[in-house]
Point group: C2
Chain length 151, copies 2
């Protein structure tokens, strides 16, 4: 499991180099193969929905010719927002593994806690905090530089 | 405003004919032009994120070369889910006008009430219930047929 998070972290690092908020994600098939991996690309694609999780879900769904990714697992370096938490639910993802917790924008352990709502019809198994420090460090370094401070 | 909802309802009707859950959406530029219109296409595109709102946001963002649709309004026949409510926020939509309320899956007036969360950093002006009966009838008819009942 940790190897997949390492790839997600590499995608987050690449995103930072492109000037995107450094979040990375990897989508794993039921038999353990990587179906898709991506960083955040909202600026590059001029698409407010192009979070890393949405991009890997869309790519995997295209590959599997199905909007439902039954038995698949999703790794992401940051706690998903409401948009991504819901997309993960709609895609029937089996297990969600995330890195840093996000009190400002997360919707799994924070905010609307999507998977705990009666309006959520499929909740994945959730593992939070994997490689948390590395994921959080990438984000902190990125925003420090954007604010004009070296890290 | 009602004319835009009528176009959204036509998109919802077209979606039903394609076997998709009948929801339609229209995205309006700051000077009142239609930038994008679409129905739900999750099955056609094998994309769990292809709700009508996401599709019009992505199309308009591509047209405007920006992930932020400042001053734009979004019309949709059904109360947005958490995924779409958050995407509407990220896109900086000025006003959200929706038709039927959705106690089972909505996230504006139901569930996680995304715009009321401290994790929401931009909330549109919200007008709910426009052409509510027509929008709800389309959905009810669609699901009745799917359950084997004529309407």
């Amino acid at each position: 499991m940790t190897d997949f998070m390492k790839i997600a972290l590499e995608e987050a690092e690449s995103a930072a180099k492109r000037g995107e908020v450094p979040v990375g994600s990897v989508l794993i098939s039921p038999n353990g193969e990587i179906l898709a991996q991506s960083g955040n690309r909202t600026e590059e694609l001029a698409d407010p929905t192009a979070h890393a999780e949405i991009l890997v879900i869309r790519k995997a769904a295209t590959l599997l010719h199905s909007p439902r990714l039954v038995g698949c697992d999703l790794y992401v370096t940051l706690e998903p927002c409401a948009m991504c938490a819901a997309a993960i639910s709609f895609a029937r993802i089996r297990r969600l593994v995330f890195g840093a917790y996000d009190p400002k924008g997360g919707a799994v352990e924070h905010g609307g806690r999507f998977y705990a709502q009666p309006t959520c019809h499929h909740a994945p198994e959730v593992v939070g905090g994997m490689e948390e420090r590395k994921a959080a460090h990438l984000l902190k370094a990125f925003f420090n530089v954007r604010r004009g401070h070296e890290t």
